[in-house]
């Protein structure tokens, strides 16, 4: 790559970020915004029988108090996915039924925060309590149903039975499973419990809204999905799409949480009702209790292998907890199987099925890894168990079973693997961690022991045949470029990565390319920044846009140089007439023709892309831990992640994505757990009690890349953002087993659980 791709270009917005400039949503809100606050349900499941708002409305400065009677009765889903893709229409903006502690009961807007807070306290609500259910395994047929409403709707493909609390059911059989298991010498089976996790991005949910001069509703929001936010707002508010404009400023982290609308409609409805600007800033507690989380799952995995270490048969059964609303639940549960089973590349048969039940906990949502993370904990843990049963090194076992470039992957939407360096990832990581010296364990002293563990993983690069992403490029009259995307950079750096791809295609330095902010009025359509799609799918759209622009520029150069266009060459700076003449035209002069030549078109091009495939990035992760047998405490001493994301477009950003994803994975493995009491109240609703890894908890995280070349990606690139969270949980679980012989099947793997396991060993 000659110009910008494969270079550690600093993020285009870094200077503004590191000098604290007003670039985030809250910084940009007008001073005269009404302050919006939300009354939250104290009950896990209840019917609202009365809301008296007279006293609240009497507070000076209160502009409105909205209840279920004030909002459109249009069932919708808050989950942003390519099209509806499995999210049932199961909620109103406000409803007379509340389904989890934290569900919105009423909305208050006032001139000041004090007035809004006071009005919230003065709202009087009568509830009729209903029996709640929190455990997804007990939710089926629990009465009354959480979604008994008559206007509930969902696609038939979900096979849901909402009156039974069954949100969805799915089965994917392949081959003769019984026959395949019958051939196996070793069969292992177990069930794994993964917990809800909170995204805990540093910027909580926030939005402000106003009517513009043309009477259109503008929503400025910290979102990953500007265009899906616009579409959902239009649906839920009963407005045509063209009447709504969504603007995305800089976003302080998302990790999937902002792939759903969380606060936008609660704010916008105030503007709709009062015609005034309004803003809603979630507190940290509100972000914890009233947004979405990683779906809790129970995953049962059965693997069968012959003595030679070939996995012949595999089955995955998932029970997923949708929580109170079904946004994202179907696709997330789907990934627990379709992303994990392809690792058994030589399996003759497999079976995958899942059931998703509604419960009275906060809704699950998209969270980096999107179900695959939960799935890989189960399948990779079982692969490590198989290695022990077979007496085989776990790295060797992977090398015998992983899919290779050219392989057909029936579990992976019947796609072919078109690029993979996973074998190299395993070998490199094994050397980096010092596997041969450290596996399985090294005793430190009487209580402490050090051990290593490993896992492999893959993810997607966008959603094949579904994700539509566009990008555009304009040539300014001085010969410089402005590129636009509608994806919604949430801090990952996709604005920069896409500008690099543009520079590479246009054969120029990154300094000649600027990136426009995201605004649904001016940005090209993109389904949003999720499913690991910005580099791979939007990146290809950017390549197409830039190629199209180059074609337009060449055509004009041909006219200017009086040369057939087929003979025009462009090197990024000059257009050359290769028809025997020595004519050439600089890019600057060509650009100026846009304003000096009456017949010269304006050079602007838009490319759109929807990939027929979703080539997986792959990785191997290796953990070294120290475990104290007396206390059960686990310290991660070293973590090595070796990633094949195809061509690495920006090595600095890709490395930090990998390190950050691994850190989140370590948090999920050891600390993070959204806990509810018996009444469904979330217990750990601040950073004091919900523990994300701090600087003191993590070792330096080491990342290496083993590049493959993905033929369908921009300059050979695949995705990076999600695959990186998938290995820490099973790798650390494996290290714990190698350290002390305890099999961890329940997250997080706390000292308490490890000690319990150690005691059970002593008293069989």
């Amino acid at each position: 790559m000659k110009y910008a791709v494969n270079q550690p270009v600093p993020k285009l917005d870094s200077a503004a970020m590191t000098t604290g400039k007003p670039i985030y949503t809250e910084d940009l809100a007008p001073a005269d915004c009404l302050i919006v606050k939300v009354l939250r349900s104290p009950h896990a499941f209840a019917r609202i029988t009365a809301i008296r708002k007279k006293r609240a409305l009497a507070v000076p400065g209160v502009a409105c108090a909205l209840t279920w009677e004030d909002v459109p009765r249009i069932r919708h889903s808050l989950g942003g996915l390519a099209y509806t893709f499995g999210s049932p229409n199961d909620r109103y903006i406000l409803e007379d039924t509340v389904r989890y502690v934290g569900d919105a009961v009423a909305i208050v807007a006032a001139e000041t925060e004090e007035a809004a807070d006071k009005a919230l306290r003065l709202l009087e609500v009568d509830y009729e309590l209903l029996p709640a259910v929190l455990d997804p395994r007990q939710a089926l047929d629990h009465q009354p149903p959480i979604h008994g409403e008559e206007d509930y709707s969902a696609e038939d493909t979900l096979q849901g039975q909402p009156k039974r609390n069954l949100m969805a059911h799915f089965e994917l059989p392949y081959g003769d499973l019984d026959a395949a298991f019958a051939k196996c010498d070793v069969v292992v089976e177990d069930t794994f419990h993964t917990r809800a996790n909170s995204h805990a991005m540093m910027e909580t949910f926030r939005a402000f809204s106003y009517y513009d001069a043309n009477g259109r509703l503008a929503i400025v929001t910290s979102t990953q999905i500007p265009f899906l936010c616009r579409r959902t707002a239009a649906q839920a508010l009963g407005m045509p799409i063209d009447r709504i404009r969504v603007i995305k400023p800089k976003v302080g982290g998302g990790f999937g949480a902002k792939q759903s609308l969380v606060c936008e409609l609660l704010c916008a409805i105030v503007t709709v009702k009062t015609r005034r600007p309004a803003k809603l800033i979630y507190s940290r507690t509100e972000s914890f209790i009233a947004s979405n989380s990683r779906h809790e799952t129970y995953i049962t995995v059965k693997l069968g292998a012959t003595k030679d270490g070939i996995v012949r048969a595999a089955s995955v059964h998932t029970i997923s907890n949708a929580g109170a609303y079904g946004e994202q639940a179907f696709a997330t549960a789907l990934l627990t199987g379709v992303k994990t089973l392809p690792m058994f590349g030589r399996a003759e048969a497999f079976h995958f099925d899942f059931d998703i039940t509604y419960t009275n906990t906060m809704a699950g949502g998209a969270f980096r890894g999107f179900g695959a993370t939960q799935g890989f904990f189960a399948t990779e843990s079982m692969t490590n168990r198989l290695a022990v049963e077979l007496g085989m090194d776990p790295c060797q076992l992977r090398l015998k079973n992983i899919p290779h470039s050219g392989d057909f992957m029936p579990a992976y939407f019947f796609e072919f693997l078109t690029s993979s360096a996973l074998d190299r990832c395993i070998k490199t990581g094994r050397n980096m961690i010092g596997w041969d010296q450290k596996y399985p364990r090294v005793e430190v002293d009487g209580s402490r022991v050090r051990a290593v563990g490993m896992a492999v993983a893959l993810q997607s690069s966008g959603i094949s045949k579904a994700d539509k992403c566009c990008a555009s490029v304009k040539l300014c009259e001085d010969g410089r470029y402005i590129v636009s995307n509608g994806a919604g950079d949430m801090g990952t750096g996709c604005d920069t990565v896409l500008a690099q791809i543009a520079a590479e295609t246009l054969q120029c330095s990154i300094d000649r390319v600027s990136s426009a902010p995201v605004d649904t009025d001016s940005s090209p359509y993109d389904k949003g920044s999720f499913a690991s799609s910005t580099t791979y799918v939007t990146g290809m759209a950017m390549v197409k846009a830039c190629e199209q622009l180059t074609g337009m520029m060449k055509a004009e150069a041909a006219r200017a140089l009086d040369c057939p266009v087929a003979f025009i060459e462009f090197d990024g700076d000059f257009f050359y007439a290769r028809n025997g003449s020595s004519g050439r035209l600089s890019l600057e002069l060509l650009a100026r023709r846009q304003v000096t030549e009456p017949d010269c078109p304006w050079f602007t091009a838009e490319g759109s892309h929807c990939s027929p495939t979703s080539p997986p990035p792959l990785m191997a992760g290796f953990a070294e831990i120290e475990l104290d047998r007396d206390t059960g405490k686990v310290t991660v001493l070293d973590y090595v992640g070796v990633v094949d994301c195809g061509t690495v477009v920006n090595p600095a950003l890709a490395r930090v994505q990998a390190q950050g994803g691994i850190a989140q994975g370590i948090g999920m493995a050891l600390y993070e757990d959204v806990q509810y009491d018996e009444a469904g109240r979330m217990l750990n609703r601040n950073f004091l009690r919900y523990k994300i890894p701090s600087r003191m908890d993590l070792p330096p995280i080491r990342v290496a890349f083993e590049q493959s070349y993905e033929p369908s990606g921009p300059f050979g690139a695949k995705s990076i953002g999600e695959v990186v969270i998938n290995t820490p949980v099973p790798a650390i679980a494996d290290a714990i087993y190698n350290a002390c012989g305890v099999r961890m099947t329940d997250l997080p793997m706390t000292p308490e659980k490890i000690l319990k396991g150690l005691r059970q060993q002593v008293q069989p």
């Binding site: 590191t18 540093m202 601040n686 701090s694």
Partner: protein, 150 residues
């Protein structure tokens, strides 16, 4: 109540509510670098200096700052930009939302700890959470910057 203090090197005089936090006061002055992350003194995003010592402005009443020097990232922009370039070179700012509070703590560290080891740097910065980076690139950036500074 009356409040009189030095804000980023300039005298400031005016009214503040007795219950207003320093964080809310500073944001009301248009100082956008001061970020709210938690309100419970757990994340470090709202770090500013009072008389050159880092404090968490979410849990510090504005009236306590009376007669004191309050400094936000806007007041040390040049130094911050320099250190920020070390972060940017490694992509370590990511979403950037924790960067201002983080930079204020690093700049205080530079003043308070001569020749710190990597472990000392880590311990000093322990209260600054980041959800994006996994900390490694942040630590590399700080150590590289300290080396150049010294």
């Amino acid at each position: 109540m009356n409040l009189e203090l030095t804000l980023n090197g300039r005298p400031w005089k005016g009214e503040a509510s007795p219950s207003q936090t320093l964080l809310d006061f500073l944001r009301a002055q248009g100082l956008a670098s001061v970020k709210r992350g938690c309100d419970t003194e757990n994340c470090g995003l709202c770090t500013v200096w009072v008389d050159d010592a880092p404090v968490l402005s979410c849990s510090y009443l504005a009236c306590r700052a009376t007669g004191r020097r309050v400094t936000t990232l806007e007041g040390v922009e040049e130094q911050a930009a320099d250190l920020g370039r070390f972060l940017a070179a490694r992509g370590a700012e990511q979403c950037g939302f924790c960067s201002p509070g983080f930079l204020m703590t690093v700049l205080a560290l530079r003043r308070e700890l001569p020749h710190p080891t990597r472990e000392e740097v880590r311990a000093y910065l322990a209260g600054n959470l980041c959800r994006c980076s996994g900390y490694t690139a942040q630590m590399d950036a700080v150590c590289a910057w300290l080396e150049v500074e010294e």
